[in-house]
Amino acid sequence: MYALADCNNFYASCERIFEPHLEGKPLVVLSNNDGCVIARSQESKDLGFKVGDPIFKCKDVVRKHNVIVRSSNFALYGDMSRRVMQTIRLFSPDVEVYSIDEAFIKLDGLAGRNCEKVMRQMRAAILQWTGIPVSVGIGHTKTLAKLANHYAKKHIETGGVASIPKNPDAMLQCTQVEDIWGIGRQWSKKLRNIGVNTALDLASMDKESIRRSFNIIAMKTAMELRGHTYFRLEQAPEQRKTLLRSRSFGKPVESWHELSEALASHATRASEKLRNENLVAKMLHVFFHTSLFNRTDPRNSAHATVELIPPTNVTHTIIKAALNAAKPIWKGGFRYKRAGVQLIDLSSGPVQCSLFDSPEEQAKDKRMMVLLDGVNSSMGAGTLHFAATGFTKVMQMKQLQRSPRYTTHWDELPECLCGL
């Protein structure tokens, strides 16, 4: 048996824990730099807010309905997520953290009825301990658990926990193809065109014909709906293949100086992440472009890819490669809105020395990186940094409405009143 635990409106729920006055009010959380809506409370979903809505286009609704607008507070969300996941692990050792607010749980040795009882206990513990409401779906496969979870969310009478019943047809019947785990928008369209509208329709389709008209994943999904396990718990995260660091600027960037500092910062953070995961990169991709929304300014978009020989995770090598790649494609006279660095073709293999580089140089670089990471982890990120990343503040995120980092900063603790 599998269960899927999914936090309800996670970011909005986090915002409410230390600010109970936000309960029942429409609330939206914005992306980095306060650009677009990335999360909504139920109340703002009901007002029609969609994920991805640029907030500047919603000004009227925000004013009319007193919508609470918050910048994203990942320090808080990350800490609350950790607490939720740790609580889940007390109920089962086999947990796949699927995203910041979702986890698959393997429930072995528990019969159907007991599964539900234990998951209700888990849900109650998470709610009491962390204040985060979660929904839990239980089924024979991950796809069914996800489907039951969807059902639990939609039907309040389930008390937030639903299992796939012995005869699952009715529950499959009331699940639309779009809401099946792993069936994207494209496939949904194609399925509807051939008269497949619900999960039950898909489950009843012929196995081979699904494979022929779609692919093996779609076929596995259909089989999982019938209760055959194809997708297992993935506990060791698959090694990443690429690593992207990008962000839109608080205000448009027009000079090479500012752009190069931004790219150097991205390169720095990407390199740190690489070292943190003991990986090296073989290729590097840089890009920068003007606003996608602004139709009056002249537009430009530039990108370049270079090879890193030998593959590396050394900050100054990666900064140099990024700037060398960006310089020839830089054009002035534009208001750039976003820039990024992507590291591609990552591997954990030992760095092979080419004929031309000296092992002494590499050993020296490595020692320097160990020192750099040590200082930055004990004294705060960015304490030691390369001058190329600059001292100006263009890279600082525009986060005007961020709530305090209640659980991770001593000087931002929630205040409780001893009054009245």
Partner: protein, 140 residues
């Protein structure tokens, strides 16, 4: 919540010649978390503000340790949500009657009134305060 424990460095470097006689007796140094935080997952820190709980040993600016996994009982000091705000009170249960009691210094009594929880006042318990850490060094 800090979970890592700081371990003492094993000393007695070989080159020095003399092994430290304490080497065989090295123990972990004490970690305050063990004493103050019973359930790290459910424990949150807060800052007290105001004087209504001075009599209970909670002073303005004190650091409070709050455990959400403890079920509040008669006499617990709790974080209560009243009118959407977080407040500190002592919980009193008498039969069906539940009230939230301020506990100021004797001199200030009368300045604060107990809150009867019922139809008129909606209050929920956010968590149970387990420790108050008071800095006796500086005067705020």
């Amino acid at each position: 919540m800090v979970e890592e424990l700081r371990l003492p460095l094993i000393g007695g470097r070989v080159e020095a010649g003399f092994p430290s006689p304490a080497d065989d007796f090295i123990e972990r140094s004490l970690d305050l978390n063990e004493q103050l935080v019973a359930n790290p997952i459910a424990t949150f820190f807060m800052r007290a503000s105001g004087h209504s709980m001075d009599g209970a040993g909670i002073h303005d600016g004190d650091l409070l340790i709050v455990d959400r996994s403890i079920t509040p009982s008669h006499g617990s000091i709790v974080i209560a949500v009243i009118d959407g705000g977080l407040t500190v009170k002592r919980l009193r249960k008498r039969g069906m009657r539940v009230s939230l009691i301020p506990e100021p210094n004797t001199l200030d009594q009368g300045a604060y009134v107990p809150i009867e929880v019922g139809e008129e006042t909606d209050a929920t318990i956010w968590g149970v305060v387990t420790w108050s850490i008071h800095n006796i060094q500086c005067t705020r």
